[in-house]
């Protein structure tokens, strides 16, 4: 911020000479400096929470398909029970339609409210290739460039590996997910993977700032630059450039196949990991599996102005939909992350503690963790714990 104001004051000094040779220096320096400075969005804490009206926030809710609707209903139930000052604007997206009007409505709603909580929208293969994956369209239109996932071993969950604590930051908009494909000759399909310097710098910057904020010691970049020399080579180079600005954080890199091998044998060696889109998909799913499964880990997608929260592994869960056996933990923890983003910290910690107590102390587990509980039993237990802690009374 200091240099920006220095430039501005300099321009004011020089304004009598504006008509002459020098012109307005802010026009020259201004754009590059300001565009970088506006990226103060770290974990979303610096921008004022949007859509706060009458003391209540409005959040877009996209139920999605599969287990999404039922889990989000439980989230709403818990929020109502805890008197959380959040109103949900529900937007439905029909995955069977070929037109984009549903998605456009959803994206407009998120632009309006700034924050969203969503379930996964199914992608039907039977539709023609021009109908892109709706989740992907949402991420790219809103430029949600960072996908953050924090994998932590929970004491109440039985896993093969213990003491895992990894933050995974995955580039969310480009890479292999550019959806640029063509069939130039019949029987030969080309798919383009795009890596740009700007996006790589952006995600590396986000990763290092997050690491610094959370007090992490080491950032590992995951890549395949021995094969894709230009593409992943560029990504790696950008990471190295950003790393030089953070001397207290160790930076190293690892090839993706070695990474997966190390993850299944010694996952405790990893701290913060940053990577392009596809490797992020693989590594985040491996880590989610290591800590106990898709029902436990929440994920967040951050952009410059918007934030969307969902489960980390983005499963539709069609086979377990409407059977009351899905694990509500991931979605509830994602809603707590959303409350943190809206700066409603007290409510967030209340609900989070209740969820973790149910998981670790009362050990009420759903079927995916090897337990006998149903979704509603787990949610009832969570609400009981919230009630015992004393509901938050508003200040009026």
């Amino acid at each position: 911020m200091a240099s920006h104001s220095a430039v501005l004051s300099m321009s004011r000094l020089l304004s009598p000479f504006r008509g002459g040779l020098l012109g307005n220096p802010t026009k020259v320096f201004g754009t590059t400096l300001t565009s970088h400075r506006n990226k103060t969005l770290l974990t979303g804490d610096n921008i004022p929470p949007p859509a706060k009206y009458g003391g209540r926030h409005t959040v877009t809710l996209i139920p999605g398909d599969g287990i999404g609707p039922e889990l989000l209903n439980h989230v709403r139930e818990v929020f109502r029970f805890s008197c959380v000052p959040v109103d949900f604007e529900v937007v439905h997206v029909n995955s069977a339609l070929e037109t984009d009007s549903d998605m456009d409505n959803a994206i407009t709603a998120i632009r309006r409210n700034g924050v969203a909580l969503k379930g996964n929208i199914e992608t039907k293969h039977t539709l023609p290739p021009s109908v892109k994956s709706r989740n992907n369209v949402l991420r790219t239109s809103l430029d949600l460039y960072a996908n953050v996932m924090h994998c932590q071993s929970l004491p109440g969950v039985q896993t093969r590996h213990k003491n895992i604590d990894i933050i995974i930051i995955r580039e969310n908009t480009e890479g292999e997910y550019s959806s640029l494909e063509h069939e130039s000759v019949s029987g030969v399909v080309e798919c383009l993977k795009i890596i740009t310097r700007n996006n790589s710098l952006r995600i590396a910057d986000y990763a290092f700032r997050l690491a610094r904020e959370k007090g992490r010691r080491r950032v590992t970049a995951v890549h395949k630059a021995n094969i894709m020399k230009l593409g992943d080579g560029l990504f790696l180079q950008c990471c190295r450039e950003v790393a030089s600005g953070y001397p207290e954080i160790t930076f190293d890199s690892m090839i993706v196949d070695n990474t997966t091998m190390q993850l299944v044998s010694k996952p405790q060696q990893f701290d913060v990991m940053v990577m392009p889109n596809l490797y992020g998909n693989v590594v985040s799913n491996v880590c989610a599996g290591l800590v106990g499964g898709p029902g436990l880990v929440p994920g967040a997608n951050y952009g410059q102005a918007y934030a969307v929260f969902e489960t980390a592994t983005r499963n539709t869960g069609k086979s377990i939909a409407d059977k009351n056996i899905a694990n509500p933990t991931a979605m509830l923890l994602a809603s707590c992350m959303m409350l943190d983003h809206l700066q409603l910290y007290d409510y967030a910690s209340l609900i989070r503690n209740a969820v973790l107590t149910t998981m670790n102390e009362t050990r009420l587990h759903t079927a995916d963790l090897g337990g006998q509980g149903t979704t509603s039993e787990v949610v009832q237990s969570i609400m009981r714990i919230i009630q015992s802690k004393g509901q938050l009374i508003s200040e009026f």
Binding site: P129, C191, V264
Partner: protein, 388 residues
């Protein structure tokens, strides 16, 4: 053989040799007699060798390569397997026109013997020529990389009861190496999926499942994002599944496979996938059973060529010190014996190896013991001879 089976056998053979069929049903009598004539002349080497020695090209490799190759040769000698070794070197030489190629005697030996065993090769940096593995792959058109991952009883990992096979397309996909800088700061990398290669690998996967008594084949893809490319791969897999109704076929997203693999690897059997996913998943599965030091691997090529190799590095720091672990190369050699149909010898050597590891008396350093490579080899030889 019944008429239809005979015709489909000839069609398969023709397809292997590059003839393509538009109309499956109408095979002209002239073509048929032509094919029969070719078959009579060709007399392909039968896979099941009943008598006589089979010659195999051996490429020792660099670093620890020579030691582990001699270990394997010693064990084979002790077990009296009917294998004759022909050692060849594959340092790249520059042929006419400046094109890099492997030495002609190595190529000729491989073409003659059709089966090869390869140790680790050094990847040169800034030597001007591509990696040797890439060169071998291009020379012999090694289109399928097969990696069976079976938990080793004596070597404890957090995962027990792993028994799966990953079959990876080895020639195209994300590793086509086609990259461009479009504008300064924007790089484009091209992933190529062709119908021919996808069909070849899908057919091979089902053939492998059938020949090795495997129950199901799972295609791993990301067709929700890469609709056209992985969609094409998936279509070819579905077509191959139609032709092999006795093997169960499922398809699964890459992320779901990763998620389930680390939680419960027993639910997977044979996995078939394009190049990049195969690279990541095969190394993931190798990590489940204990790493690259104990994982066998085989590359299947066109024209019946098969090269079996150990996938670990050359380990220059322990080269020549008699500390290397020959397990990976030994298990690859066992895979080779199975490929050639010598199941009895394969079972004998494999059992000896696993028993030695389970015993834990003589183990090399990476397996947790502190014996020498030669002691480990001798222990296995002793066991093999005791089994006679």
């Amino acid at each position: 053989m019944a008429g239809k089976a005979w015709r489909s056998a000839i069609q398969n053979l023709l397809r292997q040799w590059g003839f393509s069929f538009n109309d499956m049903e109408k095979t002209k009598a002239q073509e048929l007699s032509q094919v029969v004539g070719v078959m009579m002349r060709e007399s392909p080497q039968p896979r099941t060798f009943i008598r006589g020695m089979q010659t195999v090209t051996l490429i020792p490799g660099d670093g620890i390569g020579p030691e582990i190759s001699s270990s394997v040769m010693k064990i084979f000698e002790a077990s009296k397997a009917p294998i004759q070794w022909e050692e060849r070197n594959v340092t790249a030489i520059q042929g006419p026109g400046g094109k890099w190629m492997i030495p002609p005697d190595a190529k000729e030996s491989m073409d003659r013997n059709k089966i090869g065993l390869k140790g680790p090769l050094k990847t040169p940096i800034a030597a001007g020529h591509p990696s040797m593995n890439l060169l071998l792959r291009k020379t012999f058109d090694l289109y399928a990389n097969v990696r069976p991952c079976v938990s080793i009883e004596g070597y404890k990992t957090p995962y027990t009861d792993v028994d799966l096979v990953t079959i990876r397309e080895n020639t195209e996909g994300e590793y086509s190496g086609i990259e461009h800088v479009i504008v300064d700061g924007v790089v484009q990398s091209i992933k190529l999926i062709t119908e021919q290669a996808s069909q070849r690998i899908a057919d091979y996967a089902f053939e492998y499942a059938r020949n090795n008594q495997r129950a199901s084949v799972t295609a791993v893809h990301k067709a929700n994002i890469m609709r056209m490319s992985d969609g094409l791969f998936l279509r070819k897999c579905r077509e191959a599944a139609e032709k092999h109704k006795d093997v169960k076929f499922t398809e699964m997203y890459l992320d779901t496979v990763c998620l389930n693999m680390v939680q419960d690897p027993t639910q997977f059997d044979v996995l078939v996938m394009p190049n990049l996913y195969g690279d990541i998943l095969s190394d993931l599965c190798a990590g489940l059973i204990g790493g690259l030091g104990v994982t066998p691997s085989g590359n299947i090529g066109a024209n019946g060529v098969a090269i079996f190799e150990s996938v670990h590095g050359t380990a220059p720091d322990i080269a020549g010190k008699d500390m290397a672990n020959p397990t990976a190369l030994l298990l690859s050699a066992v895979m080779m014996l199975r490929h050639m149909g010598l199941h009895g010898h394969a079972k004998k050597i494999e059992t000896a190896c696993f028993d030695t590891i389970r015993d834990k008396k003589v183990l090399t350093k990476d397996l947790g013991g502190n014996s020498k490579c030669s002691e480990f080899t001798n222990a296995i030889c002793q066991r093999v001879q005791d089994m006679e």
